[in-house]
Symmetry: C2
Subunit: 158 residues, 2 copies
DNA sequence: CGACAGTCTCTGTCTTGTCAACTACTGTCG
DNA sequence: CGACAGTAGTTGACAAGACAGAGACTGTCG
């Protein structure tokens, strides 16, 4: 947010890049989210969790692992898992050897719904995001922004 | 959200670009937001509104204009303006000739606080975002993502 | 073993934003 | 003028996350 209009704003190159990130994110996400809810009845945050679990070992992930792989706080994950569990797509199980902990495991139904939804989700992102970039631009953006997810735990400044 | 890990995911080039947008957005925003709140006592959404008003005619903007320039719904803007108004940074005034309407106007205090906060905000974005890209990368990202804010009202596919 | 600091998850409470419905007003058409 | 469709903004009810702190457990040190 906080984008300079044309007046007495800095209007630097990097601010345009930042503004692009901001808007691309918001606009694509809005469409993708609405589509997902309309067609599958759950939001992107669920798909995010389901996708993490899909890609995880069969015995699931702990709350803190889900949290580390997401943009939520621990309490946010607890409540998110509550909802997904209530819908029957995941299940909480005990962790052997640590009775504080919880493993979150995909149910068969959860796996099925993930597969469906993820298959439907990709073309939406492709249509709303990728199709508006040339292949070179896709590569350029992917390279330029890779530091932000290429495990740099904190994004700390240099 | 919903990022493929390394397993049996498509792992296309454009998905990496999308993931970069997602993560860059989230990580930079998180830091910028925290910094703004810590140093100026208000969140980015306020700065966004203040910046729009700063760049607007002296007699302010209508609710719907603020809404068009933001990522909020009308009711979201109403409530956002409520809070900023309660803090004394903007004021609602009548629109001559349309008694349904409202102009939102920056107070002197609001202008002052905007200036302060915006000056402080830019270097944060520069540090957290721009400094991790080369100048060429900045240009590439700015060019590639410009369709998303270059007035394309809806981001419709096509 | 017992104390105690640290860890893992959950809960109470609050904030923020959405959606749908509502009030108030405008302009048009008879 | 009076009806009426459309527009501007607000409100009620609710959903989703954040934060701080609680509860349950673990491992270590005496």
């Amino acid at each position: 947010m906080a984008r300079p209009h044309d007046s007495n704003r800095p209007a630097t190159r990097w601010f345009d890049a930042w503004r692009g990130v901001l808007y691309a994110n918001a606009k694509v996400l809005r469409v993708a989210e609405a589509d997902l809810v309309a067609r599958f009845g759950f939001p992107l945050s669920w798909l995010d969790v389901l996708a993490q679990l899909h890609d995880a070992p069969i015995n699931g992930l702990r709350i803190q692992e889900l949290q580390a792989g997401s943009l939520f706080t621990p309490s946010g994950i607890t409540r998110l898992v509550d909802r997904i569990e209530a819908a029957g797509l995941v299940r909480r199980e005990r962790v052997v050897g640590d009775r504080r902990g919880v493993r979150v495991v995909l149910t068969p139904e959860g796996r099925r719904r993930h597969d469906e939804a993820f298959r439907a989700h990709l073309p939406i992102i492709e249509r709303e995001f990728a199709s508006r970039l040339t292949v070179d631009q896709q590569r350029a953006v992917a390279d330029a922004l890779s530091p932000f997810w290429h495990d740099d735990p904190d994004g700390s400044s240099g």
